[in-house]
């Protein structure tokens, strides 16, 4: 179980290879990679070009929040390893933002836990995004869809 909050990019292949290296109980690895898009659809219809995005976070709280999210996933599914790598700072369209990876004996658990981790991360970890658009800097608002996605995992 591991979390990293970093400015630098990450190598998805190397991270996945290291996740369960030497662990013969692992039968499945799933991953989610989030990327910066060049378009932001606001309020469902208003489209804006995005030339860059800057991610800000709350050092100290972020790591604790991500560890709590991982701990919750480990309570719910039989997991051998999890990894969350989340970047901060200035990113451009096409850049990687986040990697969530899960190793489990079983594929169902690996898929579900990975989905859970990214859904909960979006609403429970202290990150904020501001986008550079033709109209200037625009803070990204919370999406109702993200709240609903997180709620479906509530118990």
């Amino acid at each position: 179980m591991s979390v990293r909050v970093q400015r630098e990019d990450f190598d998805v292949g190397a991270e996945l290879a290291a996740l369960a290296a030497g662990n013969k109980r692992v039968g499945a690895i799933t991953s989610f990679v989030g990327l910066v898009r060049d378009l932001h659809v606001r309020e469902g219809y208003h489209r804006e070009a995005v030339s860059a995005m800057t991610l800000e976070h709350y050092p100290g709280m972020t790591e604790t929040a991500l560890e709590e999210i991982e701990a919750e996933a480990s309570k719910r599914w039989p997991l051998e390893a999890t990894l969350i790598v989340h970047r901060y700072g200035r990113l451009e369209p096409g850049d990687r933002i986040v990697l969530v990876a899960v190793a489990s004996p079983h594929r169902e658990a690996a898929f579900e836990a990975c989905h859970f981790l990214i859904d909960w991360l979006k609403t429970k970890a202290p990150f904020w995004k501001v986008e550079d658009t033709p109209k200037g800097e625009q803070w990204v608002g919370a999406h109702e869809g993200d709240d609903q996605a997180a709620k479906k995992w509530e118990r």
């Binding site: 976070h57 933002i97 990150f127 904020w128 995004k129």
Partner: protein
């Protein structure tokens, strides 16, 4: 007590953190918001923003009713938008 601001709250207040010494009758997060709002027009503007914002006490998510007694750091921020 240290107060931290993130994202557009930081921009509106004009600082990322400040040391404050509220009087003892400032007991909860809501009391602190009210007290800070009276400190400057920038604070009042930041906290009057119609969009919702949240708070944390010593890096743990708090509600507006959470007591701040003994807190060393209170943070204010918009809803999280990571991932």
């Amino acid at each position: 007590m240290k107060v931290k601001y993130f994202a557009w709250l930081r921009q509106k207040v004009g600082t990322s953190e400040e040391d404050v010494s509220p009087p003892s009758d400032v007991a909860t997060v809501q009391d602190l918001v009210t007290w800070l709002s009276a400190q400057s027009a920038r604070h009042a503007d930041a906290f009057s923003e119609a969009k919702v914002f949240g708070a944390a006490i010593d890096k743990k998510v708090a509600t507006f009713a959470t007591p701040i007694a003994g807190a060393s750091e209170v943070a204010f921020f918009p809803p999280f938008t990571g991932g």
